[in-house]
Symmetry: C2
Subunit: 457 residues, 2 copies
């Protein structure tokens, strides 16, 4: 036997050894059974190339029967792989879709996926509590403690199908009460989030009705206290102008509901934890998962908690179990470093956008933006670089009383001030959408302002 044959023999044996270990140890360790098909399907769909201007989704349409999934393109992109820019497509700065956080989840792809079995939690209820995952509750309380934005001790918690449902539940809970004079007047200081008015009006309830701007009731509240009762909705930071807020009204017949959707480090300094009677939060503005429809409320008073629970039970019998298990997995990712990576990513994204926007608008005499005074953020441990969720743009010229029309003519869609209970010389522009949408907004605003500069020259 030649030494060459011998060497071949040894090499072959060594390969045997390598493959053997690989086959029985490495592979067996990671052997998947019933989850494999779903995992492969998810990866296949995710691997579809959409030019960075779109995505294919597991539940999206198919190119053809049995074919690949289609790319769903950003608003101003088209074509099979979203590579074509659609000409004269308006820059959409409406709505509150928080897609600026999508890249964060792309970066944390491996830790944030969740695989749900066909038999996962089929029952209506959880063992510990009818409609709440105890583990999810724990993670939510941990999030508040890590961020230091709310005192959770001594509070009840309920989950809602988005904070939207919790706003309804709060109206029900704060008005279905023997002590109050009926109907309770529901108010919010202008500019206010338009949904409040729609909520308070739609039921045509005998218990509560919408009464507009809280400021209008401020001066004669002491006279009114014996004949009228109020629910004041305080949004802090406020939607649309992103300022931290306090209630306008006070008195024995005033109850306050706090909407703290934006009281998180991406959007606001966190000067101190809030500790109010009824506080509402939403996953969509924290993590960007608007489509999950998940929010929660922290509640001091046991009776209010009971009534909110009744409402949530009768309205939807709780919150989707798929949503709850996914929210849990996502929150676990966020809490690995006490939220640092998420909040720094989110804050930087919005603060950078705000700076760019400000730079453009500051060149204009016709438009102005809201101002922020410096404030220390206890979470980011720094003076907060402003990062409002929305720009509250004002058209300063008298002939621009319908500011959204000026923008519209320049190819920009914003939400008119009238929606928020103020003049249409204001327009709300979102800073939360995708890079594609925001970059187009900047480009259009730049054109608009540079035209103005040319006009002046």
């Amino acid at each position: 036997m030649s030494s060459f044959s011998n060497a071949l023999y040894v090499v072959s044996l060594l390969f045997n050894l390598f493959f053997f270990f690989n086959f029985f140890l490495v592979r067996h360790h990671g052997m998947l059974t019933w989850t494999r098909k779903s995992a492969e399907e998810a990866e296949e769909v995710a691997s579809i190339y959409c030019s960075g201007h779109g995505k294919a989704y597991l539940d999206g349409g198919l190119v053809s029967q049995g074919g690949k999934h289609v790319c769903e393109c950003s608003l101003c992109y088209g074509g099979p792989d979203c590579s074509e820019i659609l000409p004269s497509c308006p820059a959409n700065a409406d709505g509150g879709d928080p897609l600026y956080l999508e890249p964060y989840w792309m970066q944390h792809e491996a830790s944030s996926a969740v695989t749900i079995s066909g038999w996962h939690r089929m029952s209506y209820s959880f063992p510990e509590s009818a409609f709440l995952s105890a583990e999810l509750t724990k993670q939510i309380l941990k999030l508040h403690t890590s961020v230091g934005n709310a005192i959770t001790e001594g509070k009840f918690i309920v989950f809602g199908v988005g904070s939207t449902q919790l706003l309804h539940a709060s109206l029900y809970a704060l008005s279905d009460d023997d002590r109050l004079l009926k109907p309770v007047n529901v108010v919010a200081r202008a500019p206010y989030y338009p949904m409040y008015q729609a909520h308070a009006s739609m039921f045509k309830s005998r218990n509560f009705e919408w009464q507009g701007d809280a400021s209008l009731w401020k001066n004669n509240i002491s006279n009114l206290n014996s004949t009228k009762s109020f629910i004041e909705i305080v949004t802090s930071p406020n939607n649309p102008d992103s300022n931290l807020r306090e209630p306008v009204l006070q008195g024995s017949n005033v109850k306050i509901m706090y909407d703290h959707a934006y009281y998180w480090p991406h959007y606001s300094a966190i000067p101190a934890p809030v500790n109010e009677e009824l506080m509402i939060f939403t996953l969509s503005k924290i993590m960007g998962h608007a489509g999950s429809r998940f929010g929660w409320a922290l509640i001091k008073d046991a009776m209010v908690y009971e009534r909110m629970t009744t409402y949530l039970k009768l309205n939807t019998l709780g919150v989707s179990h798929e949503t709850q298990v996914r929210a849990l997995e996502l929150l676990k990712v966020v809490l690995e470093d006490e939220g640092k990576a998420l909040f720094e990513f989110g804050h930087k994204a919005i603060a950078d956008r705000w700076e760019k926007l400000n730079k453009i608008i500051s060149q204009s005499k016709r438009f102005s933006l809201q101002k922020f005074s410096p404030q220390y953020c206890t979470y980011l441990q720094d003076v907060h670089r402003p990062s409002p969720a929305y720009a509250w743009l004002k058209c300063e010229m008298e002939e621009y009383q319908e500011c959204h029309k000026v923008l519209e003519a320049a190819g920009i869609i914003g939400r008119p001030g009238g929606f928020f209970g103020v003049e249409d010389s204001y327009v709300r522009l979102t800073l939360l959408r995708s890079d594609d949408d925001f970059n187009l907004l900047l480009q259009r605003l730049e054109n608009l302002v540079s035209k103005e500069l040319i006009d002046i020259i």
Copy 2:
């Protein structure tokens, strides 16, 4: 070189060849990247042994910090692996939890799992329609066509957070209407599902109010037609008694809302497809996924559709995207054979249970059950073997006017007739719970009836 060495060498080469193909082809083909961690986690949790009397869930508690997930046991089982029977634990036959379908999904584990990425559909809306997955809509329509239980052509569709939310939305949509006299009287023929009363009362709406049993309005409806307007809720098959139903009221001021939660082959013969103005369905009773909170409505009238959409938008901004993608994957599994496997499994399970229950109760003179007349099922293509979702038990003896108390004393929890707008000599017992719960119910009923037989002797 000996022939033995030669043989060894060849064997080694063959092994290499095998391993080589395995390594580079088989393994590489199924190589997973970002989904692997979630798939492994799901399989690990699913592999926890709970004695067949419980389950560990991905979002369940942990035995200790960083430890395994705990088993969540069936009601009357305990211990770390659910192997201990809890003595004197009552047989729970209350509620409508459809856990009898869990074994079906265990059997279809590999096809029914779903893996959701961290960046899956973060937006509020879908591209085709604000809140509805177009693919899911297609599957739902296909399901109705396959089963032949409803005409979907010419209908609008909306999704709700369970049929519960759709019942609310319907009250809103059918009453918020200029043509009707206000408040609209909401009625349902007794015995009726108690949720209807709670829904119609809770909002204290000026538009509608609960007016109880539809039968009480039947005789003078023609006189009333000019002064009062009605919404009649028709549940068919009915909850609690599982009979197919028609409206009691008719006239120009009567609008009908059909709750068809149970109009599926597991619970009822499907004599013909229904084709009404407003029909509500729910995933929980079809597939068993009550915790998903997913239902839909088919609607003929465009205005009613618009108003329902408005309600759903203002109430929750649509339905969880996690729920929608999972419902889609589950429906795809069901529709692989046009629902045959699921509906045959479901029908057999309930029909068998009903037979066992009947056999016990038929020996008694003190208790009786509802009767069914034979009816041909166009889907199962056979005379339907009765399979009601609920037993509507009657205590026949005068001294048993509070029938639930008689059962309670025998260790059985049912829902008293009073909840359904009739006498407490009736009790509703569910046939939908897990095998553990149902077997205990049979055992307790057997004891109760055999005691009666001894008493008679």
